[in-house]
């Protein structure tokens, strides 16, 4: 039996694109290599204290590829060597916008990231933009880079953030774009939220909840009809289907029992917060700083800001209607940052509650259907 501990590590807040919905506070600051051993030691001390053998590092930004492959080679070596010396392990994952990807990255991606990377694209792309070239330019460059990475044999997962344009296009067009036009066999959809300071574009992401639920259920149906049996992975539906068939499933972070004990995020200045959304948007919720505070474990244990995260699920079952919900066991009140960005407090259930229920209901029906088919076939 073991726990998984993950760190969303942001080596830079700098970015090479100008997406209109980005909630991150961008600045030209990078994690310097001489600080990597100190950061690593803090993480390893914490793992040792908690009795966890492996830590997942999700490298993202800003845009991580701004750091260059040579930086990653050194940083990875420093971290992995230090971990091995203490009988521990890091497992690295890469999330990039791909815009500055070139084949020069391939060797590193195969050796440090197990030949896979995560990127993101929306459909239709209206908000991901180059500084010069806008959204069309972005789509063209990104698609070209995707093709090059696919040809290099890299495994690529894509995250799509839904917006009003996605709902207008409909689930069929959305699904076909990712699977047929881009040839992807693994992608996931995320619900949007307006992180950071208020911006006009937020209206675009304040989606009508019933319409969003209808879109997602339609997308679920399209995937089951066209992709499920052909091995296409579409998150979070794929894990939900596993769950409702009684199989082990790794549900996304928005549906963890308590995300506060499972991951943290650290930015290039050493700031520690709950996840990348918090570390880049909400200074009032910072837990501390790994370069200033001597002990990460102690920081997490004593941080008043973190206490609210820890106690959130407890608060929800006392004050919301979550305890009556048949999906409590897979939702636990949903995502704190989606709640905070919409309501100004995390001590409420996720505003996407009804959307999640619609998805869970669909997943449950499909899962039970698959189980019945399997029984009948025996």
């Amino acid at each position: 039996m073991s726990r998984v501990f993950s760190v969303i590590l942001l080596p830079t807040a700098e970015c090479n694109v100008a997406c209109t919905y980005c909630f991150e506070h961008k600045e030209k600051h990078r994690l310097s290599l001489p600080l990597v051993p100190q950061l690593t030691a803090q993480l390893l001390d914490h793992l040792e204290h908690e009795g966890i053998e492996e830590c997942e590092i999700y490298w993202q930004g800003g845009e991580v590829m701004i750091m260059g492959p040579a930086w990653f080679v050194e940083a990875g070596q420093i971290m992995d060597t230090a971990a091995a010396a203490r009988g521990l392990r890091f497992r690295h994952y890469l999330q990039t916008n791909l815009i500055s990807y070139t084949p020069v990255w391939n060797e590193l991606i195969f050796s440090m990231f197990n030949g896979s990377l995560g990127t993101s694209m929306d459909f239709p792309n209206q908000h991901r933009k180059l500084f010069k070239g806008g959204s069309d330019g972005y789509t063209n460059v990104w698609t070209q880079r995707l093709r090059e990475a696919q040809e290099a044999g890299l495994q690529i997962g894509v995250i799509a953030v839904l917006h009003q344009g996605s709902l207008d296009a409909g689930p069929a067009a959305f699904y076909d774009y990712f699977t047929e036009e881009l040839g992807l066999t693994s992608f996931q959809v995320n619900t949007p939220f307006p992180g950071g300071p208020a911006k006009a574009v937020e209206a675009e992401f304040n989606l009508d909840k019933p319409a969003l639920a209808q879109f997602l259920v339609g997308l679920f149906d399209r995937w089951m009809e066209r992709g499920y049996e052909r091995g296409v992975r579409l998150g979070p539906f794929d894990e939900l289907i596993e769950h409702f068939q009684g199989k082990p499933a790794r549900l996304p972070c928005i549906w963890k029992e308590n995300c506060s004990n499972q991951f943290i995020s650290i930015d290039s200045k050493g700031t520690v917060a709950q996840c990348d959304c918090w570390v880049t948007s909400y200074p009032e919720t910072y837990f501390g700083n790994v370069f200033r505070d001597p002990n990460l474990t102690e920081m997490l244990r004593t941080s008043p800001a973190r206490r609210e995260f820890v106690e959130r699920p407890k608060h929800l079952v006392e004050h919301e209607d979550c305890l009556e919900c048949r999906y409590l066991s897979i939702c636990h009140g949903g995502c704190p940052v989606r709640t905070y960005s919409a309501l100004g407090t995390m001590l409420a259930k996720d505003p996407y509650c009804e959307v999640y229920k619609a998805i869970f209901g669909r997943a449950q029906a499909y899962g039970q259907g698959l189980l019945q088919r399997a029984r009948a076939a025996r």
Binding site: N258, V310, K314
Partner: protein, 243 residues
């Protein structure tokens, strides 16, 4: 005062009873299998990772409200099972969330006193995939109604993945898989037998459980719960025969 409703416990796969010992009594104990009752943080930390012959688990009381205890329990990995007793489930149910990480690193179950409002704790425990042992006592009309709700929840709700005792073992017994008496299922030291029980059709399963401590307790409501479980078992058997 000892708040524990039982002093000896039996694991179903073991013929011998495990002695339930206080942390003090357990020091140096070597007379067979035992479970340690811990009620303070120092006692909990002292015994959590102990590797001592005969030690079969910890029964944890009065500590659900202490987040530090559960942060400690979620560290590392351990094989020693924890049985967390919730004496006031209606009041303390939400604190079960503190066990969410603990269950990832060591076996943990909860014992709920079936006092008014316990259903909230049962729902949350089930949602956290925690095995539950319900100690029903001698329920009054209100308690029986809640117990019946709990039964329906345990048998039909998709949230329930781990056993809810005594319901699931009784169901198995009615389907022909002997699980012992209710005393065995709930791991409670048997009370004295009651003459009146001899004519009860559920005597072989109940063994006078509901006649203790008050032998004048009217078992009609309890018999209805047994009967409902029996009906469910028959329905399962019919479904399986038809499939």
């Amino acid at each position: 005062m000892d708040q524990s409703p039982w002093r000896r416990r039996r694991r179903l796969d073991q013929p011998a009873l495990s002695s339930l010992l206080t942390a003090e009594e357990a020091q140096g104990y070597s007379q067979g299998p035992f479970v340690v009752l811990v009620r303070t943080r120092p006692e909990f930390e002292r015994w959590l990772d102990a590797e001592i012959a005969g030690l079969e688990g910890l029964q944890v009381e009065d500590l659900l409200g202490d987040p530090e205890v559960w942060a400690r329990a979620a560290q590392g990995s351990g094989r020693l099972p924890l049985d967390v007793v919730v004496a006031e489930p209606a009041r303390d149910f939400s604190a079960l969330y503190r066990l969410a990480d603990v269950r990832l690193v060591r076996p943990v179950g909860v014992t709920l006193m079936a006092r008014p409002g316990f259903l909230k704790a049962l729902r949350l425990a089930a949602s956290l995939q925690l095995p539950v042992r319900l100690l029903p006592g001698q329920p009054d009309a209100e308690g029986l109604a809640e117990l019946e709700q709990a039964l329906q929840f345990a048998m039909h709700d998709t949230r329930v993945e781990a056993p809810v005792e005594f319901f699931h073992s009784l169901l198995a017994s009615f389907r022909g898989f002997d699980q012992g008496t209710l005393w065995d299922i709930l791991q409670v030291d048997p009370g004295p037998p009651q003459e009146e029980c001899a004519s009860c059709r559920y005597q072989s399963l109940c063994a006078g459980f509901f006649k203790n401590p008050d032998p004048t307790y009217n078992c009609d409501g309890v018999r209805q719960i047994f009967s409902n479980i029996e009906s469910m078992a028959e329905e399962i058997s019919r479904d399986l025969a038809a499939s």
